[in-house]
C-alpha cells in the first residue's frame, strides 16, 4: 500500500511538473491565475483557491471522471466514485463509496488536494469534514448542457487544463450545432423517453433534462415536456400521446427480451406510431444520462437513428 502511494506521489509530482511547465496560457472566466495560484468559483458559488494546479484529485461522479479523462487529466485521479466506469482506465483507480455512503476516511486516506462531488447525497457535514482535513471540495452540478460546459471549465481550471477545457467545450458545441443543423424538422415528430420499463412503473425524462435538451436539438418534441424533471407517468398517457419515436435507456440484462422487444409486445402498445413503425431505440444510459462529454455521442446515436434510415 505504501509502495503504491509512493508511486502515486511520484507520478503526481511528475505530472505537476509537466503541467506547471507546459500549461499556463489558458485563461477561463471562472479561473484566475495569479502567478501559479488558482482561484476558481465552483457551481455552488463557493470560492476555491489552490497554490498550484491539483495533481491529486478524487472525483465522485461518473461524469466528472469522464471529464477529467477527456481533458487528458485522468492521471490526476487518485480515487473515483464506485459507479465510474468510463473510460476503461478508470477501473484501475481506487474506488471510493459515494452517495449516502460517502466514506470520508477513505477519501482522506487517499490524500487528494481536491474532491469533485455533486449535491445529490453529499451533505454540508461531509464537505466540512473534508475541508477540516485540508482537502478542498468543488461542487459540480450540471442540470443542463450549459452546466456541463461550466463543469468542464471548472475541472479544467482546477487541474490546470484550461486550454484543453476550452477546446473540449468548443468541440462539443460544434458537434451539437452540426447535428442540430442537419436535423431537418419539417414536420415535428414526437418522442417518448423511457427511463424505467413498465414492469417497475414507467419513468420518463420531462423538461429540463439532458434528454429533453437533446430532443429539442434534434427537432423532436418530447411528449412529456409538461413534466418537470424526471417523473413516474401513467401508461395511459403514453398511449394517448402516441409518440413517433420511443427511446429507452433500460439496460439489457443479457437474458430474456431486449428492452425494444419488451416495449413492442406490451398489450395495447401495438397501435402506438413508434411501435407500428418499429421506431424504438435503446440508448446506453451512461452516455445519455450523465452530464459529461459523451452527451454528443448520445446526440449522434439518436440523430443516426432518426435521420439515417
Amino acid at each position: 500500500m505504501k509502495k503504491i502511494s509512493n508511486v502515486i506521489v511520484l507520478i503526481a509530482l511528475a505530472v505537476s511538473i509537466v503541467i506547471l511547465g507546459g500549461c499556463s496560457k489558458g485563461q477561463d472566466s471562472s479561473s484566475n491565475v495569479a502567478g501559479s495560484k488558482i482561484v476558481v468559483t465552483d457551481m455552488k458559488g463557493r470560492e476555491i483557491s489552490l497554490a498550484k494546479p491539483a495533481t491529486k484529485v478524487v472525483a465522485i461522479t461518473a461524469a466528472d471522471c469522464e471529464i477529467l479523462y477527456a481533458l487528458g487529466a485522468g492521471d490526476t485521479l487518485v480515487g473515483r466514485g464506485e459507479y465510474c466506469n468510463y473510460p476503461e482506465a478508470v477501473s484501475e483507480v481506487i474506488a471510493v463509496e459515494s452517495g449516502a455512503e460517502t466514506n470520508i476516511e477513505q477519501i482522506i486516506a487517499l490524500e487528494p488536494q481536491i474532491v469533485f462531488m455533486n449535491t445529490m447525497a453529499q451533505d454540508v457535514e461531509t464537505v466540512e469534514a473534508l475541508e477540516n482535513a485540508g482537502i478542498q471540495v468543488a461542487v459540480s452540478v450540471a442540470s443542463d448542457i450549459e452546466g456541463v460546459y461550466e463543469a468542464i471549465a471548472l475541472i479544467g481550471a482546477v487541474v490546470g487544463k484550461d486550454a484543453e477545457a476550452t477546446k473540449l467545450v468548443e468541440q462539443m458545441k460544434d458537434q451539437f450545432s452540426e447535428i442540430s443543423a442537419n436535423a431537418n424538422s419539417e414536420e415535428e415528430k414526437t418522442v417518448y423517453f423511457e427511463v424505467s420499463p413498465l414492469e417497475y412503473g414507467l419513468w420518463t425524462a420531462g423538461s429540463n433534462t439532458y434528454m429533453d435538451e437533446l430532443s429539442q436539438m434534434l427537432g423532436l418534441k418530447n411528449i412529456f415536456a409538461d413534466v418537470e424533471g424526471w417523473g413516474e407517468i401513467s401508461q395511459e398517457q403514453v398511449l394517448e400521446r402516441n409518440p413517433d419515436y420511443i427511446i429507452t435507456i433500460a439496460a439489457y440484462m443479457g437474458e430474456g427480451m431486449k428492452p425494444e422487444e419488451e416495449i413492442a409486445q406490451r398489450s395495447g402498445w401495438d397501435k402506438i406510431a413508434a411501435v407500428e413503425n418499429e421506431r424504438i431505440l435503446n440508448v446506453n444510459a451512461d452516455i445519455i444520462s450523465r452530464p459529461g462529454p459523451r452527451l454528443t455521442e448520445a446526440a449522434q446515436v439518436i440523430f443516426d437513428f432518426i435521420y439515417k434510415e
Partner: protein, 343 residues
Amino acid sequence: MIKYRSQNLKPIAYLLLILSLLVVFFLCVCIGSVTIPIHNIVSIIVNLILNKPIPEGVAGMIILQVRIPRVLCVAFVGAALSICGAAMQGVLRNPLADGTTIGVSSGASLGAVLAIAFGFSIPGIENGGVVLMAMVFAFISLLFIIALAYKLDCTLSTNTIILIGIIFSMFVSSIISFIITFAGEKVKHIMFWTMGSLADSTYEKALTLFLLLMVFGTIILINAEELNAFAISEDNARNTGVDVKRVKLLMLISVAALIGVCVSIGGTIGFVGLVIPHMMRMITGPNHRKSLPVTLFMGAIFLMLADLLARVILKPLELPIGVVTSFVGSIVFVYIFYHARKR
C-alpha cells in the same frame, strides 16, 4: 332488549357490498389519467360484452388493455391483503398484526429477490419461480417470527410480535442489500423490483390473483367459526373441539400464499391488511362470520380507491400506490394503537 341476531351477514348486506364493489369498479375504470367521455367507455364495454368489434382508437386500448386489468389486479390485491390481515389478527389475537407489521411481506420480498438473483424459475409459468419463492419465504418467515415470539413471550403480546416483526424486516432488508451488492448484472433488476408496481397489470396476473384468492380466501372464510373460538383463547378453541394445530397451519399457509403472490406482483403495499379489518370490526363487531366477508369486499374497494387517487392526483404523473395506503394506514395505525392502550 335481547334481540336475536343472525350469525351471518344478511343477504341484503351481501347485495349492498356487491353493488358498491361494482360501482367503485366502474368508477375506477371511468376515471383515469387520460379523460375518456363516459359514453365512449359504456359503448366499449357494451361492445365487449356483446362480442362486437371495439371502436378503433386509443380509448379502447386504454380501457381494455390498461385500466380494466389494473383495476382488477388492484381489487384482488386489496381483498387478499385485507383478509390476510383479518386472519392473522384472529389467529394471533393481536390487533396490530398485518403482513407489513409482523414482517411477512419482507420475508416474501426476500424470497422473490433470491429467485431473481439466482434465476430460479418454473418452466412454462411466467414469473412462477418468483411467485413460488415469495410464498415459501412468506411462510417460513411467518413460522420463524411466531416461534420466536412464543419463545420470548408465551402470550404473543402485541408489542413483542410487532417488535420482532420490525427487527425481522430490518434483518431481511440488510440481507437484500447484501444480495444486491453481489448480484452483478441483475442488481438493477432487483432494485427496481423491490420498488414494486401495479402499473404493468395484465389479465394473466389478475387471473393468477383471482384463482389464489378463490382458493385461500375460501379457506380463511370457511374457518370463520374457528377464528371466533380463537378470539377468546387457544384453550377455549381446543375445548370447543377445534383442531387448533390444523386450523392454525391452514391459516398460516393461506396467509403466506396470498401475501406471497401479492408481494411478487405488486410489491409491498403497506397497512391495507391492518386498517381495513379494524374498520370493519368497528362496524360489524368481532364475529368473523360477519367481519371476514365485509373485510374482503371493503379491502378491494379501499385499494381501488387508493389506486384511483394514486393514478389521477398528479396526472400525468403517477404516485406509487404504497404512498397513499401508508399515508392513510399509518394515521389509522396510531389511532388504533392509542385507543387500544387507553382501554
